[in-house]
């Protein structure tokens, strides 16, 4: 019996589901041979009562979302958070420092009466989450690894080392050595330092390592010329929901 798999989205850009759909070639053939996709709004209309694995993309930012994700959780053996919004709250949490009414006003103006909103939060703040696929967007190789691990009965694990490790493995010149700044030293690896390899810096989309030395990282950023406000802003982009940006 192939496991029944479903995909759901909450507050997000659906980019992680889109990237999932970008899996192609032999990988796609093998994946569909291994699992049964029973619910996935972006590709078909079917649904099911019970899921072996439910992937949830997006953060929870409306009262109705709380009920809906609880319902999904109740009908799923495994619930896996897909992408930064579901994993750590992500960009949506940038509004959390505002009054919610003010936030609605800014976005919808006088149409705000048609909408409700609550401070955005990761899925794990509402229901228990079994595993996480980090990233904005996700790394599909990592998604496939986690799926394979689950199918093989292995506990999927995320690297608990920072981006620096894979950045060094990739042979990059450190962003700091280039006179710029980067969140890599405290952000969880697993992305093969894709942004730095492409000439940018780490924005922190994969969340913090388990035991980050935030004080030291802030000192480092300050040493490389950032003010306290700038340091906080840097962390806020993806990690508002964690304590580090406060």
């Amino acid at each position: 019996m192939k496991p029944k798999v479903a995909f759901f989205d909450f507050t997000c850009c659906e980019g992680c589901q889109l990237d999932t759909l970008n899996i192609e070639g032999q990988d796609l053939v093998d994946l569909l041979a291994a699992i049964d996709i029973v619910e996935f709004r972006e590709i078909h209309t079917g649904n099911a009562d019970h899921y072996d694995i439910a992937f949830v993309e997006g953060s929870i930012s409306r009262e109705s979302g709380i009920e809906r994700v609880k319902d999904i959780r109740g009908r799923s053996d495994l619930l896996i958070a897909l992408g930064a919004c579901a994993h750590i709250g992500g960009l949506n949490c940038l509004k959390n420092h505002l009054d919610m009414d003010e936030a609605l006003e800014i976005v919808y103006g006088e149409d705000k009466k048609y909408y409700d909103t609550i401070p955005a939060r990761p899925v794990s703040a509402v229901v228990p989450v079994d595993f996480f696929v980090p990233g904005c967007p996700i790394n599909t190789a990592e998604l496939l690894r986690i799926v394979k691990d689950v199918l093989l009965g292995k506990t999927p694990e995320l690297p608990n080392y920072p981006v620096c490790v894979e950045c060094k493995m990739a042979g990059n010149v450190c962003v700091f050595e280039q006179g710029k700044t980067c969140l890599g030293p405290v952000i969880r690896g697993g992305c093969n330092a894709i942004c730095i390899s492409a000439g940018r810096h780490c924005w922190g989309c994969r969340g913090l390592v388990d035991d980050p030395n935030i004080d030291s990282q802030k000192d480092v950023l300050a040493k490389y010329g950032l003010s306290v406000e700038q340091v906080v802003e840097k962390f806020k982009i993806y990690n508002t929901y964690s304590e580090v940006a406060k």
């Binding site: 291994a34 920072p162 620096c164 060094k168 280039q178 030293p185 030395n213």
Partner: protein, 775 residues
């Protein structure tokens, strides 16, 4: 180098390698073989003047090797070594032409002398030269380009060399990137930089990649795994000497033992062309680590003279490359002087230096294991692993399985890992054996300054300074840590000098002890019973010794002959042999002497308990052993069988006669005695003490043997015990050494690195195997 070469054949690595090292140091070219078969292969293909062969080899024995050598290479002189001499084998070896034999263990000097003597008897023409013939060298511009020589090549030559190499292999060199330098595949000669300061990452990644496939696995049906090795021919062009040293360390790690097939294949496909570093990076300290220049580890080594490149040839392949691609010529005097000046200038430019000799680092670190420095310094550590990821001497790795989506096949992948990463030492239960930043930080610095050096004999840090550059909180530089610890040590020493250490006032001050009674034991031996005048007890363990002072005459170390189980007094049995003992022999009951001690480690009672004991005393070896025998008798239930062997030269040398009778009568003791020469009244065994051993039936697995006697006894008794199947760890001895202070300072009792009065006088044979001065 001497002209005669030696082949050493022994299956025991320690013996084989020790002999190789001794003889290499003495200047002989040495080859080694582990088995008779391997030896004969070597003898068939190369010329040797002398063969040193162990008689007991697995497979083809030493005697068989001698036979074959005598038949095929009769001019080779052979020396046999054996730990188990017997008249038959020695005769047989001589018949087969062995010029001499040596008993194991033996001292380097003896072997070297024997070889010198052997060789001096060989007429020079009898031996063919032993230089390995290189492959026919291609026509060279310089008549013969030889290894270890230096030549000069021009810029055009270097380009020709580059182009020639690029035709057949990947050229890995240094290029500029993002304002820094990195190693990468170089396509165009114009991109190659030889004037770089240092690279962000070391070249070792091309020998030990960040990620590689070790196995292709399949678990569809019968699980199977197949080794996978990927290696392409490549040249590392422009490697700085410190990185050459790092590669030599990796060679040692991956090739010396448990030869790593992936590394070796890549290494064998790699040429190394070095370039001297004339522009050291601000964080580098290679001169302090002895790695600023390289003598080995390269095929070619360039120095950029500005007008051309001084090129040192490090291998035959290097020589061939020069001959094939360049118009190499001999350097002139100006060029030689210029190279020297450039290297000196480069060394002067180095800004970071160790304030302590690197040889002192292991001890210095060991003494500061618990220092607060590690905690303080690691406070800012991000655990980001950057320091270990850019380190040329780091080689730790992780191994993981990755499966294909078909869930039937997969790969076992090796990736870099590092001890500075949080989860490096975590086990499945969740326990992290290096759970805090301080312990990880300390571990890395200890690897760099101590562990690697001790394990592999090469420096664990080559002073490239990359970690210091990569570390964002600026805490990674080993030089900084080494200097900080050295500074702490200096301050501690200074504190000691200002008198904060409480003196041990009794260290050299003997304590008065009253002589209670004296008994004659033999012609020159007496036993003395003492008690401290203040009523205290000696508090000794069997096998320890004291220093006895006869004021005005001097002080002498004397082993304690009685067990602490026998009351508050202690007995010293003493042979009249020197000034102090002569004075002791004149003492009457009631006299006062001075006692310091007890000193030394004593017999390892914990290890002996619950075992069968074979206690062997030769002559006055009984004096120290008696303390153990008494202890064993008084705790008889804590030991298995107790067998005592006692040998003396003649019946009148036998001592403690009443106790000997009591041991004989004791049903819990098997007591056997012999004398070298009997007399008319002697009815017991006659023969040396070794003759008692073959008749004893032992259970080797649960027996511990304690042997005390003169050196000659050790040599032969050990051989017999080995025949009985006892391991080196099961044979315990007490060694005599000159002792003065008893507290590990005066230096008289030192055996190689250890002090007999501290770590001894009791040792296992296993301990002694590493102490070449011991017997």
């Amino acid at each position: 180098m001497r002209e005669h070469s030696v082949l050493v054949v022994d299956d025991e690595p320690i013996v084989r390698e020790s002999i190789r090292d001794w003889l290499t140091e003495a200047g002989y070219p040495v080859a080694t073989a582990e088995t008779g078969e391997e030896a004969l292969e070597l003898v068939a293909t190369r010329d040797f003047s002398v063969l040193v062969v162990d008689l007991r080899l697995p497979g083809k024995t030493g005697i068989k090797v001698l036979e074959a050598v005598k038949a095929e290479r009769p001019w080779i002189r052979t020396i046999v070594i054996t730990a188990y001499p017997s008249a038959e084998t020695v005769q047989e070896a001589r018949r087969l032409g062995a010029v001499d034999y040596l008993l194991k263990p033996f001292a380097p000097d003896n072997l070297e002398r024997l070889i010198d003597e052997t060789l001096s008897s060989i007429p020079p023409e009898a031996t063919v030269t032993t230089v390995e013939a290189p492959e026919a060298a291609p026509v060279a511009v310089v008549e013969a380009i030889e290894v270890k020589q230096s030549f000069v090549i021009g810029n055009g030559d270097l380009r020709a060399l580059f182009d020639g190499l690029a035709e057949t292999m990947d050229v890995i060199g240094v290029v500029a990137r993002n304002g820094k330098y990195v190693y990468d595949k170089v396509k165009r000669f114009e991109d190659l930089r030889l004037d770089y300061d240092t690279t962000v990452h070391p070249p070792t990644r091309f020998l030990f990649p960040a990620r590689e496939r070790m196995l292709a696995v399949s678990f569809d049906g019968t699980p199977s795994a197949e080794a996978t090795i990927e290696a392409k021919p490549q040249v590392l062009l422009g490697v700085h000497p410190y990185d050459i040293h790092a590669i030599e360390l990796l060679d040692e790690v991956f090739m010396a033992t448990h030869a790593d097939p992936n590394y070796i294949t890549r290494r064998q496909n790699t040429l190394i062309i070095g370039v001297d570093c004339l522009r050291p990076s601000p964080n580098a300290f290679a001169p302090s680590m002895g790695t600023a220049q390289a003598d080995t580890g390269f095929d070619l080594l360039l120095t950029d003279l500005g007008t051309g490149y001084m090129t040192r040839v490090g291998s035959q392949r290097g020589a061939d490359l020069l001959a094939e691609h360049t118009d190499a010529r001999e350097p002139n005097d100006n060029e030689i002087a210029s190279q020297k000046a450039l290297l000196e200038l480069a060394a002067q430019k180095v800004e970071v230096r160790l304030n302590v000799a690197r040889e002192r680092l292991p001890k210095l670190l060991e003494d500061h294991y618990d220092d607060s420095y590690w905690e303080e310094k690691s406070e800012a550590c991000l655990s980001c692993g950057s320091c270990v990821m850019v380190c040329p001497t780091c080689f730790c790795f992780d191994v993981k399985d990755e499966v294909a989506l078909n869930l039937k096949t997969g790969e076992r992948i090796r990736t870099w890992d590092g001890c500075m990463l949080t989860d490096f030492a975590v086990v499945a239960g969740g326990e992290n054996f290096r759970h805090d930043k301080a312990s990880r930080y300390r571990h890395r610095i200890f690897r760099k300054g101590k562990y690697v050096l001790e394990r592999y004999g090469m420096v664990g840090c080559v002073g490239c300074g990359r970690c210091a550059t990569a570390c964002l909180p600026d805490i990674a530089s080993p030089a900084e840590a080494f200097n900080a610890i050295a500074e702490k040590a200096k301050i501690e020493t200074a504190r000691r000098l200002i008198g904060k250490v409480a003196p041990d006032n009794e260290l050299y001050q003997p304590k008065p002890a009253k002589l209670l009674r004296v008994d004659d034991l033999a012609e020159n031996e007496k036993v003395f019973e003492f008690q401290f005048e203040d009523g205290s007890t000696l508090g000794h363990a069997p096998g320890q010794f004291v220093s006895v002072s006869i004021f005005g005459i001097g002080e002498a170390p004397i082993s304690i002959s009685s067990s602490p189980t026998r009351g508050d007094t202690f007995q010293l049995a003493v042979r009249n042999v020197g000034n102090v003992t002569r004075a002791m022999h004149k003492l009457q009951a009631g006299a006062t002497v001075g006692i310091r001690g007890p000193f030394g480690n004593g017999f390892p009672i914990d290890t002996l308990e619950w075992k069968d004991l074979l206690l062997i005393a030769g002559g006055i070896g009984l004096f120290p052993l008696r303390s153990l025998i008494q202890h064993v008798i008084d705790h008889r239930d804590s030991f298995g069988r107790v067998i005592i062997l006692y040998g003396t030269r003649s019946p009148d040398q036998r001592m403690f006669l009443e106790e000997l009778e009591a041991w004989k009568a004791n049903a819990g003791i098997e007591f056997h005695e012999t004398v070298d020469r009997g007399d008319d009244d002697w009815k017991g065994n006659v023969g040396v003490i070794t003759t008692l051993i073959p008749g004893i039936d032992l259970s080797p697995a649960k027996t511990m043997s304690v042997v005390v006697g003169p050196p000659i006894v050790y040599r032969f008794v050990v051989g017999e015990l080995k025949k009985k199947g006892l391991a080196d760890e099961q044979i315990i001895m007490s060694l005599e050494r000159r002792m003065k202070c008893g507290v590990g300072k005066c230096g008289h009792c030192q055996i190689n690195g250890i002090y007999a009065c501290q770590e001894g006088p009791v040792f296992t044979l296993a301990d002694l195997r590493n102490l070449r001065e011991a017997v």
